[in-house]
Amino acid sequence: MRPWLGLPEGTRRGTRIALAVCLGYVLLAAFARWLAPHPVFDLRSLDLLNASLPPAWEADGQRGFLLGTDEQGRDVLSGVLFGLRLSLLVGVGAVLVAMVLGVAAGLVSGYRGGWLDALLMRAADAQLTFPAILVALLLDGVARTLLPRSVHETLGVPVVIGAIALAQWVPFARAARVGTLVEREKGYVQAAQVMARPGWAIALSHVLPNVMGPILVIATIGLGNAILTEATLSFLGVGIPPTSPSLGTLVRNGSAYLPSGAWWMVVFPGLALAGLVLAVNVAGDGLRDVLDPKQRSTVP
């Protein structure tokens, strides 16, 4: 297959569709402010008369609220758009932090070797079993006891990003470490060392290009998980303060009204979330087939 938009050859059609969908989501989120028909955060614009309206195509629905409203009259569609933005921001942020930390750790570990390497690998082993959700819950509990409420709330987003990053750094570190070990043995590294080029320069210019493929695959797979984890934490009421709701928070709010039959408050945010993660997962799978066929679909 010919290269398409800079993608390597051999990318399957499903992967391309998935990547296009991801792009679509990103655009929706980026332009949420302009696309959303209603300003969801402006409390004054809410009218309780609009509360709990079903989607526009149903009997009691209204055209102005395409996907219905919640119990306070907030437009579900607008809420989803803004929630999407937050979910993407946190997800991408967490993966980036994990990538930077993990790759740095792996580079150092592989290059230096010795006790630092051993220590890092032990930490990686021990850490693998602790899931992000529990770590985040624990951190939240600790923060709640130690900090006053306002500080605790502002720290919500960084804590979630930190917890997810903590759960995801290991695969990045391992990939970077392996790449470093492979390159270290090659002649040009030793030549550069003789020429007294600093270690980090060697690492960056030689090792990084070679591990970018696997790293990208890990990042894409990690992104799906990060988004799911953030949504789950929001659903549990932990982490992101309720004033800027993510998709998980929307589902949490809507779940109370599910028994009475108001399904739209749960289904639309949920589907938006599932669609995004599905697209990311399919894209990740496809990218893996092209960039790093040795890996398998090991979703953490």
Binding site: A126, L128, T129, F130, P131, A132, I133, L134, L137, L138, D140, G141, V142, R144, T145, L146, G224, L228, A231, T232, F235, L236, G237, V238, G248, V251, S255, L258, P259, G261, W263, V266, V267, G270, L273, A274, V277, L278, N281, V282, D285, R296, S297, T298, V299
Partner: protein, 325 residues
């Protein structure tokens, strides 16, 4: 082999001690036990007396030692939120979580392994493609959404199954089980499916991936060249080789099951440890938090140990060293 096991056991104990230290630090340094017991209006003398009585003026390591003693005797503190001893809460809630996780794990294994094998051996069949598509969806749906949707369809719309609680349970000694009553089983159905879905999808793809890998290996090719029947090649040789790494990864996934249990118990209001932990976090109920931490650590250490043992038992390469030429 024994030496290896002993080292692992010691490592496990070491990890437990460290985690215990963490749990202890959390339980004493966070929150104020004295304040919790006496209330904000206590006098300074009363505070000092209580501090002395609780042993909080002793050196840190001594306190830790006594804490370990208490834990090993099953005295885990008193819940801030509910005012009852944590041990009692444990006894009450643990059976619910164990049954839920147990049934979910059973579903995962009973469906995941056969489906994984099928999709590996029949790559082009329509059923395989359906199953793989479904598994990808299963990995993309958040657990809470699955639970809510199941509740919506089966409880709210169809009214076939209950949406919360354990139903009727039977007490057997200290244990309470919902497996012996119809209402208990009906209550277990939706939560266990919800909990199992993600792990099921994961295990399925894992088994499939490993099996496909093994089917391309040299020794399988040689087995074919020797004229062995397909059944022997697939199930005797390929499957055995494929399941070995699956066990490790699958067991490590049990950690995820613990995390998802928190979500599932929340959605279904299932009275288990997960829901207890969540409520403890929201309330800053430190004794419960630290106990849960200890429990989680014990579970992980045991799982790791079990995986290690099973690997040693199942893989002859780990068991013995080269006996020479």
């Amino acid at each position: 082999m024994i030496a290896g096991l002993l080292t692992r056991l010691l490592q496990g104990v070491g990890v437990m001690l460290v985690v215990g230290l963490l749990a202890f630090a959390v339980s004493t340094k966070l929150g104020d036990p004295v304040n919790n017991m006496l209330g904000p209006n206590a006098t300074i003398e009363e505070r000092e007396a209580m501090t002395h009585e609780l042993g909080l003026d002793q050196p840190f390591l001594l306190q830790y030692w006594r804490y370990l003693g208490r834990v090993l005797h099953g005295r885990l503190g008193v819940s801030y939120r509910l005012g009852i001893p944590v041990e009692e809460l444990l006894a009450e809630r643990l059976p619910a979580s164990v049954e839920l996780s147990g049934v979910a794990m059973l579903l995962t294994l009973l469906l995941g392994v056969p489906l994984g094998i099928y999709t590996a051996l029949h790559r082009r069949s329509v059923l395989s493609k359906l199953v793989l598509g479904a598994s990808l969806t299963g990995l993309s749906l958040p657990t809470f959404l699955v639970g809510l949707l199941l509740i919506f369809f089966f409880s709210v719309q169809l009214r076939w199954l209950p949406s919360s609680g354990r139903g009727q349970v039977v007490a057997i000694g200290p244990w309470t089980t919902g497996l012996l009553t119809l209402s208990g089983l009906r209550s277990l159905l939706l939560p266990s499916i919800t909990l199992a879905l993600f792990s099921l999808a994961l295990l399925l793809r894992l088994v499939r991936g490993e099996l496909l890998d093994v089917l391309h290996s040299d020794h399988i090719r040689f087995a074919r060249a020797r004229g062995l029947p397909d059944r022997a090649i697939h199930f005797r040789h390929a499957l055995k080789n494929a399941l070995l790494p699956v066990i490790t990864v699958a067991a490590l996934q049990l950690g995820n099951l613990l995390a998802f249990a928190v979500v599932t118990e929340t959605v279904f209001q299932w009275p288990g440890m997960g829901l207890l932990f969540l409520q403890a976090v929201q309330f800053a109920d430190v004794p419960v938090i630290s106990t849960y931490l200890l429990l989680a650590a014990v579970t992980f250490v045991l799982i790791n140990l079990a995986v290690d043992v099973s690997y040693r038992v199942l893989d002859p390469r780990v068991r013995s060293s080269r006996a020479g030429s």
